[in-house]
Structure formats: C-alpha cells, structure tokens
Symmetry: C2
C-alpha cells in the first residue's frame, strides 16, 4: 500500500493472491439475506471506471469470532486503483470489493469476541479487505482498534500512509534533532506525513516534487506542513543546489519514484546513508551506480507497511502503540490529513476520476 | 581494490586523491641517493603498456618512525590497472608508482619503531602504496605484519581478495552451515576465495561465471576449490534452474558484475536477503526492481576492503586477527592462492599484457 505507482509483476510469483476479506463477498443467494450491503465490486481487472460497479450484496451471518462493522469512510489510494487494474503485486481473487483502507464502527460482536466492542472504531489490518462498501462481517483478528476521537477523515487515512511514514522514520536509522532527510514524491500522502512527523521529531526535510502547474502553491502548502526545503527534480540537478547540501547532507532518503529522479537524489545522500524505497511512481527500477555502493557505502532498502503489519500481527500492542503515537500528533495538530475531497459512495465514478488525475495532491474520500 | 572493473567517476568528488605512499617517490636528486630503487612509474594516466616505465629512483633517508622494506612479490590486480588508466575512483597524485598490494620484508627500522622488526613480513594497509618496486621507505603505521610462514604467492595476494571475501562472509548476515550464497564473477580472485572460505564454514555456494572457451575446465577448477554449483549467466535465466533453487535459496548474494546479470541473480535471492556489491566488471550499474525492494525486502549493500581497513586502523589487532584466520586456512590447505604466473619485475610488460586478457582466471605476480 502507500504511494505505489505501478509495480511490475515480475516478482509476483512469490506472493500469490490474497483472499477477499473484511467480510466474505457472498454474491449468490445463501439463505435469507439478513441485511443488504452496498459495495463497489469488480469482476475483472481493467479500467476502474469500467469494471467497478455499485452492487447490492447479502451479509453473511455473524460467526462467534466475527464482528459486524459499518464503514464510515474509505479513501481511494493509488494502490487500490492498481489492484483494480490488475497491476499491483498482490491481487484478490475475483469478484472482489475495491478499497484497502478506511475506518469502520463496530455494530455487533460475536459471542467469543473479547478485544472489540460495539462503538469501537476499527481499521483493517491487512490488504484485500474491500473497504468500499457500507457494512461488513469480518474476523476479529483482521481488525485493529483505532482511537475514536479523531476527525473522521484522519481516522480513515491513518493506517497506511502515516504508518508508512512513521515506520520509515523510526526503523531504519537513528534520526536525531537537526538531522536531514531527503524524499521524492513529497506531496504524496506518505510524503506529507513524513514532513509532519519528521518536523515533530526536529528532523529537517528536503522535499523533491515534479515540476507542475501551480508549483508555488504546492511549495507553500508543503512548507506550511513543516517542509524545510522544497525543490523540483530539475532543481536537484543544478550545481547551485550543492550549497544547500553542504550543511544539510541527508542521512536518510525516502523514494517512491524510481528511475533518474532517484539516482539524482542518491547523489546527495551522505556516505553511509540509507535509502528506503516504498513506491515506484515512474514505473522505472531503482538504479544505483556501483561506485555509490562500494565507495560511498550506501544502503538500499525497501519498506512495505503491509509486511510490517503481518510481521507484528502476533503482538497487536505494537500496532496500538503506533496508532496512539500518530493519534497524539493529530490531537495536537502536528499531523493533519492531506487535503481531501469527500464523496458519497454513489458518486464513486467522480471520485475515481479525480483520484486518477496527474499531479493531484488531494485525496478522494468515500463517505458511507 | 578487489575485482573492480571500471568504476564510473561520477562519485569521485567525495574522495579526492590519495597521496603516493609506501615510501615517497623522490624523482629529483635530493642529496646523495643512499640506494637505488627500481620502480614501475607512471607520469600520466593512460594505457598501462604505454605510460608505465621501469625507472631508477633514489631512496629517502630512514626517519625515526619509518621502516625500510624490500618488496618480495606484488600482484597485478584489476584495480591497479584501472588506477593507471585513470578510471579508478581513487587516484594517486602523479608521478606515482603502480601497484597496491604485495608482500615485503622489513630490512631496517627507525629508532622509534616498536611494532615491527627486521625480518618481519608486511603488507601495505592502504591504497596508493606503489608496490611495483624493489625497495621502499614508509611509515610504520602504513604497514601491517603478516604471518611469514606462508608461501610467497599467498602472502603477496592475501590482503585484498581473501580479506574482501572473509569480511563479506562475516559482516553482513549471519551464515550457518548448510546456508547457501550465490555469487557472480565466481572465478575472480575474490570469487575463488569466497568459494574456499565459505566451504570451510560449511556454507554452500552457487557460482555464476560468464560463458567462455574452456568452460568445462573452469567449472572443474571451481568445483575442486569447493564450489557446490557452477552455472553460466545464461543458465541462470533457464526455468530448469528453479528446481535447483527450491531447496537452495541463497540468503546472501555477492556481486562484482552489475547490469542484467545482477538482476538475474537477485531474482533467486530469498525474500529478505542481502546482496553485497564489491565490483562492477560490466561497467553497468546495479538495477533493482522496485517490487524487489518493497515486496521482497531485499537489502542492497556495498563493500570496499580499503574502507574497512581505514575504519579499523585504530585497532591493528582486528587486521591481525583477520590475517591470522586466513593464514590458518592457508596452512591447512583450505585456502590456496589463485593460479599464478610469476614474472621478474623487468618483464612487467608481458605480465600486464596477460593481466588484461579477457576471461583470465590466472593472476600475474611480479617477483622482485
């Protein structure tokens, strides 16, 4: 998840397909439907505008270890679109419900559910949950409680991008106040979270964006979030910029682009520095000069928040601690959600259309 | 050092130039020469056959903290050639004496030298030493003692390639008996050391070489050293090979090639595995699919034994321990030097010519 862009399928063989979760998708009639569910279903991969349809599904009976939830809001992330198109590395079995992130309220719990109760706010803890729907029945273990005094838009978008940003800032190199990091795709959902969380840590950010219409407005927006420097990819190749980096050599680089823009970013990383790749918007691979590995001892890593969640599934307290840390930043105004446009579920076509526009720094949110 | 191939100069700005060491190169007449030194000098970068000349130099007086050594033997490594050509990332100031590795015997020590004594065998501890000469005066701190009951050829070639191999096997991931690693350029000096040291640890090796004349003889040679599997780059792309990797997923990959061959090797690395780059024979960069970083959590690193030596210069006991570990493997026959051709210093042209032949698995050794 996160700002993936279009990941090649070359390495898919090692993953296979994830089951459609967050309540089973029972499309046939199986006994008497207890309640109708509206959901954005795709029965084939392709252009989201063509393959996604709003359908009425039936809701399965609530099992002993299951929870019935009402979706409150769910964003449209780039990875969601790639998953519908069939270009994401992890694909659900079809038919499937779209969407992988969102916030829901617990309406009813099975007899053996003990960690969740009616009224709790929850987010899915894995991919393939199908959040673009009104109601779901799902395993207690597939849900993670989230502090429910957050603004709805924040709660709906907290568990992927801000979690990705937080983990990349905490888990790769120790960052101290005054240290610098550099990131590309700085206006992405993750990028905006990185700027704000880094600022809360006293870590300074050098932010790279693509040249675009209304660049000045974007620069002002990112600086308002706490960005120390904002440059375009073209700026990064100008010798004049070397002065900036003389006293601000970044120790960490965060990459969601790939290709030439990433090579240019690597050039400014301190010897011994680490670059973490979490997306590939350019659809180009990460190319590292041999000399940068040998003589500059760069460390090239990757991060996928879904894997972090899987690896920590045995200890939900780690997930709790992460969400609580982010919620605390939200409550004190140090972390705000990206600019959002809200749409009722029935207006999903317009929302998808806007989500697929280039240079968009706004996130589209479906509100159920 | 090691099997570098031709490293681009793009990242050179961060290193600058290393001084000519291992005795100063005094080309003018400064007082009465105490003794003549024969040395292979280059006064400009270019084709080694053209720019290298055997010259008589004068030897400076021995300082209090200096040591006078007589060179016994020095190899011609790919990095030495690149340094003469001017294509290596670290270049000496000119004029300079060629050669960076070799074994010497201590003949005389200054009044304040306490770590070395007459008769000790020593190797240079940094680049730019200029080992292609008969005699040198150099700082005690620029020398490292080496066990002197080793065969001469082994002693002369122990401090770069076998040290590179040993460190890459020890310092990146824990390797247990039965684990697999994969390496390309497996017939290089480092590659042959990796095979032998890994075998002594019970670690199995999958070795990739380029298709070449007399491939069968090379495969037999590497298997005799302890290689478990030897494949060509073309073999690596055949689906049939997937069966081999089913029970032998390598956790570590060692790369001295770059380009397509390296992408092919990465495909076989286990999820979460590490690739260490120590050379770039293809002159192409290391290209990593974005998905391999994100979804397979590969870790892309680099290693340069010269940097390891610099980083550990404050504690010569670490260098001692490394050389002792290698010497022990030599004494028990578990580590042998690569096939060598020996030349007197005056026949350096023939030695250089042979060192620059493609597909050579023999090392050329100048014996003084």
């Amino acid at each position: 998840m996160g700002t993936m862009g279009f990941i090649g399928l070359r390495y898919m063989g090692r993953f296979g397909v994830c089951p459609s979760r967050f309540g089973s998708l029972t499309l046939g009639s199986r006994g008497i439907p207890r309640r109708a569910v509206s959901a954005l279903v795709f029965r084939a991969h392709g252009d989201p505008a063509e393959v996604l349809r709003l359908e009425e599904l039936e809701l399965p009976a609530l099992g002993e270890t299951e929870v019935k939830v009402r979706m409150l809001a769910a964003p449209i992330n780039p990875a969601d679109i790639n998953m519908v198109q069939g270009s994401y590395a992890i694909l659900p079995s079809l038919p499937a419900v779209g969407g992988n992130e969102g916030v829901a309220e617990v309406e009813e719990v099975g007899a053996k559910v003990d960690r969740l109760k009616r009224g709790d706010w929850v987010v899915p803890s894995d991919l393939g949950s199908g959040t673009w729907r009104t109601v779901a029945v799902c395993a207690e273990t597939s849900l993670q409680r989230i502090p429910n005094r957050l603004p709805l838009a924040m709660a709906a978008t907290l568990s992927v991008n801000p979690c990705t940003a937080l983990r990349m800032l905490h888990d790769f190199i120790p960052l101290n106040p005054g240290d610098f990091l550099i990131q590309n795709g700085a206006n992405s959902g993750v990028g905006q979270s990185v700027i704000q969380i880094a600022a809360s840590m006293g870590v300074k950010t050098i932010n790279i964006v693509r040249k675009r219409p209304e660049l000045e407005a974007l620069i002002a927006q990112l600086k308002a979030l706490g960005a120390d420097h904002v440059f375009t990819e073209e700026d990064l190749r100008k010798p004049a910029l070397n002065d900036v980096f003389k006293d601000a050599e970044p120790r960490l680089a965060l990459n969601c682009v790939g290709g030439k823009a990433t090579v240019d970013m690597l050039r400014h990383l301190v010897n011994g520095g680490t670059m973490v790749t979490y997306g590939g918007m350019s659809r180009k691979p990460v190319t590292v000069p041999t000399s940068a590995l040998i003589f500059r001892n760069l460390n090239i890593r990757g991060f996928w928040v879904t894997q972090w969640k899987k690896d920590n599934a045995h200890d939900p307290s780690r997930f709790d601690a992460m969400l609580e840390e982010l919620a605390a930043l939200c409550r004190t105004g140090r972390l705000v959600s990206p600019a959002l446009s809200e749409y009722p579920l029935k207006d999903y076509r317009e929302a998808l259309d806007n989500a697929m526009q280039p240079y968009s720094s706004r996130k589209q949110l479906l509100v159920m």
